[in-house]
């Protein structure tokens, strides 16, 4: 089973493309999420509470 490690990623080209796409994408998302102003983030988090129609208990 250990030797099979050598056979992983035989299609290196596709694997590298996959990882490059993912990590670029992930960094882009993380940077954008962290850069967003606090006020806007708070506003978005409160959307479920901005429209009350509490007709029950």
């Amino acid at each position: 089973m250990k030797q099979e490690g050598l056979k992983f990623f035989t299609d290196t080209y596709l694997t590298v493309i996959g990882f490059l796409i993912f990590f670029s994408y992930f960094v882009f998302v993380a940077v954008n999420a962290l850069r967003a102003p606090k006020k806007q983030i708070q506003q978005l988090a409160h959307i479920p509470f901005s429209n009350e129609d509490e007709h029950g208990k």
Partner: protein, 718 residues
């Protein structure tokens, strides 16, 4: 749309369409009972096989697909639609786009479920897990899903709240991805009004099916529930989500990564290794976003300990999120090749799936309904105590279920993989490993019965709550304000959140990337097939028998894929190759071994052995838990559709000659006559040539016999 503009241009009075939410809620309650009862009967059958009452339509191979379809699409599906329609209207500050489309969606979906409930027990199946339904129902599902999508996206278009809350993002991902998965996995050619052949064959079919199967769990049982979680948990706890920034990262990472992970269902199979490795790595990476979501949900309840003690809704949500965390920890764990070597094909997977389905989905549904139903019917919850009782009984049930199946799976996996120092199997007799875990099947059945009991208490509570509702209560008019439309921002994601179409397109791209990279290379099958080792296709009678194998759901308990693992090669023979299943439409690799692998069963036993085994397995293997199949001796084989079936297979590339296609039914009947005469000589009744048992035996005897380079037969297939 029912809306009256106020004197203030930005404020309107509207009425949400809660009637459709009520319909979907009631359907959830009803189908939930059915789905759980089907599951309980199936669980009892594994502990005590006569529980099928000797009825073909209640036998495990047919009941299990009915149970999974009912649980996923009827129970969870209706709950998703109820929760989505309730929360979407409030998050977007808009009534649903069209009452008519909502009604078509509701009744159309119930009709789909009804069709499934009739066709699956009758044996009409494509044998693709969670996609068993035949082609007319597939088309109907597509139509209803499009109706749903139009209704949803047009509601987004007409929204008054410009910024899309994170819950809506998860709904968008669900609608787009489920449509893509369903359409690609259901490309099939009809051969009769209730039978079709998929265009994908062998390894392609396996990869497409598990790309679908895995992501059906991801985008039908995970993303919509995460969307519901992001709405209902903050509402129930009366506080905003713990970290909205984390929810942004959670969403984009989850939808991107999930789609790659399908091949972890095919580890050690003949799928190319690069695809297996990619699937395994992305499965492990899934840990991060999954736990990001779980932590975000649980941390939303931070400081609400008092609520946890007093409020059963919070209890259900905490349990659901905990099971989500457990299941999404265990999933990547099971995707590691060395763990998969033990766990795959065993009950460990069944335990894992049910910790998600009952613990995550079931608990979230019950919590959501306990919160939503009193508000929908404008009343109060009938009994907090009953809600508490339903919680504790259900929770005990899930724990019994999960622990018993995990122990059973690991036990059987280790027994099956056990090899002595001399290089022999420790447990050569497969049934020995089954007998060992039968007591745990009883524990599982008790767990299932407890969950059903908890659910019935919950249903009673819901029924009594609805009965408390005031008669003819007027619909509530809600004052809503248009917000966010005059905002100017340079922030990229902020802009994106305000763009329904742009957001949806990017979500589609995120799920498309992984799909294309994984599926596209395997479409060029010639890269992987060794021309020296191509296999002969099945004969006419064998194809007829294969249809019966599929119809009876044999694939539910038997695999046809030998992994390159020492114990499997010793037990079943050389590892399966891509070429061996290249003409299989649909593939029969299977995902569970309640019985042994059948890849190389052919010619291992005499024809009469199979005859006796199908009539009464215990006459051959005393402790077998396989049901009897007496109806195979009574029912006739369908020879008439063979010509059409052969012609479609030829069009898809299977090398049949024109004579075989033109006379497939006649050839099959001649083969059947020879086999039936042989069986009669060995002691079987006379005149079986038209009976299903003969065709099935012909197919079973051909398994592993078609390779041009014959593989040595094996040790033990009991």
């Amino acid at each position: 749309m029912r809306a009256n503009t106020d004197l203030n241009a930005h404020t309107e009075n509207i009425i949400y369409d809660d009637k459709i939410v009520k319909y979907f809620s009631l359907a959830t309650f009803g189908w939930g009972i059915a789905a759980l009862l089907f599951g309980l009967i199936a669980a009892l059958q594994l502990a005590y096989w006569p529980m099928n009452m000797n009825m073909e339509w209640m036998t495990f191979g047919r009941l299990r697909p009915l149970h999974t379809n009912a649980a996923i699409f009827a129970f969870a599906g209706n709950a998703i639609f109820a929760g989505m329609y309730y929360s979407t209207q409030r998050l977007l500050k808009a009534r649903l786009f069209s009452d008519l489309l909502s009604k078509i969606h509701f009744w159309g979906w119930q009709f789909v479920i009804l069709c499934a409930a009739i066709t699956l027990p009758l044996g009409y199946t494509q044998s693709k897990e969670y996609a068993e339904l035949e082609w007319p129902i597939d088309i109907l599902i597509t139509v209803i899903w499009v109706v749903f999508a139009i209704n949803f996206f047009m509601t987004i278009k007409r929204r008054r709240e410009k910024h899309l809350y994170v819950g809506i993002w998860f709904y968008i991902a669900t609608i787009i991805t489920v449509a893509m998965l369903h359409i690609v996995n259901s490309i099939e050619i009809p051969i009769t009004p209730l039978k079709s052949i998929p265009v994908w064959g062998g390894i392609q079919d396996a990869l497409v099916q598990w790309w679908y199967g895995h992501n059906a769990v991801a985008f039908f049982l995970t993303t919509p529930f995460l969307g519901l979680m992001y709405y209902f948990v903050p509402k129930a706890a009366n506080r905003p989500v713990y970290s909205y920034r984390l929810s942004i990262i959670h969403f984009w990472a989850l939808v991107f990564i999930y789609i790659w992970a399908g091949p972890h269902h095919l580890l050690y199979t003949s799928l190319p290794e690069w695809a297996q490795s990619l699937g395994m790595v992305f499965s492990i990476m899934l840990w991060a976003p999954s736990w990001g979501g779980m932590i975000n949900g649980l941390m939303t309840l931070k400081g609400a300990f008092k609520e946890l003690i007093q409020n059963p809704v919070i209890k259900f949500f905490v349990a659901a999120l905990t099971f989500y965390g457990m299941a999404t920890f265990e999933g990547p764990l099971l995707s590691i090749k060395s763990i998969s070597a033990v766990g795959h094909y065993t009950d460990w997977i069944v335990g894992h799936v049910h910790s998600g389905a009952l613990g995550w989905n079931g608990m979230l549904i019950m919590g959501m309904m306990l919160w939503m139903v009193p508000r929908l019917w404008k009343t109060e919850l009938y009994s907090v105590k009953l809600a508490e009782n339903s919680f504790w009984v259900s929770l005990t049930g899930v724990l019994f279920y999960y622990v018993s199946m995990t122990v059973a799976g690991i036990t059987q996996g280790l027994m099956l993989n056990g090899v002595t120092a001399e290089g022999k199997l420790m447990y050569p007799d497969f049934v020995e490993t089954v007998t060992k875990i039968v007591p745990l099947y009883w524990v599982r059945a008790i767990g299932g019965a407890l969950f059903v009991t908890g659910y019935l208490i919950f249903i009673y509570n819901m029924y009594k709550t609805i009965k408390l509702a005031p008669k003819d209560a007027p619909e509530t008019v809600v004052k809503v304000t248009r917000t966010g439309w005059d905002e100017k921002t340079n922030d990229v994601h902020r802009k994106l959140e305000g763009m329904g179409l742009g957001f949806s397109v990017l979500t589609f791209v995120a799920v498309l990337v992984g799909s294309v990279i994984e599926i596209y290379p395997t479409l060029s099958l010639h890269r992987y097939v060794n021309p020296e080792q191509t296999t002969e296709p099945f004969s006419a009678l064998q194809i007829a028998g294969r249809g019966i194998y599929i119809s009876e759901g044999c694939y539910v308990c038997h695999s046809q894929q030998i992994r390159p693992i020492v114990a499997e090669v010793l037990r079943y023979g050389p590892a399966s190759t891509i070429e061996e299943s290249m003409w299989d439409r649909p593939h029969q690799w299977g995902s569970k071994r309640t019985g042994p692998d059948l890849s190389r069963l052919g010619k291992k036993y005499p024809d009469m052995w199979h005859f006796q085994h199908m009539i009464n397995p215990r006459a051959i293997t005393p402790n077998s838990i396989m049901p009897n199949y007496p109806w195979l001796v009574e029912k006739n084989t369908d020879f008439l559709s063979l010509r059409r079936e052969f012609s479609v297979m030829k069009a898809l590339g299977t090398p049949y000659d024109e004579n075989t296609i033109a006379n497939a039914d006649i050839i099959a009947q001649k083969e059947a006559k020879i086999l039936a005469d042989e069986l009669h000589k060995q002691g079987a009744p006379k005149g079986l040539e038209k009976k299903q048992i003969v065709a099935l035996i012909a197919y079973l005897q051909a398994l592993g016999q078609k390779a041009k380079t014959p593989s040595p037969t094996t040790a033990d297939n009991k």
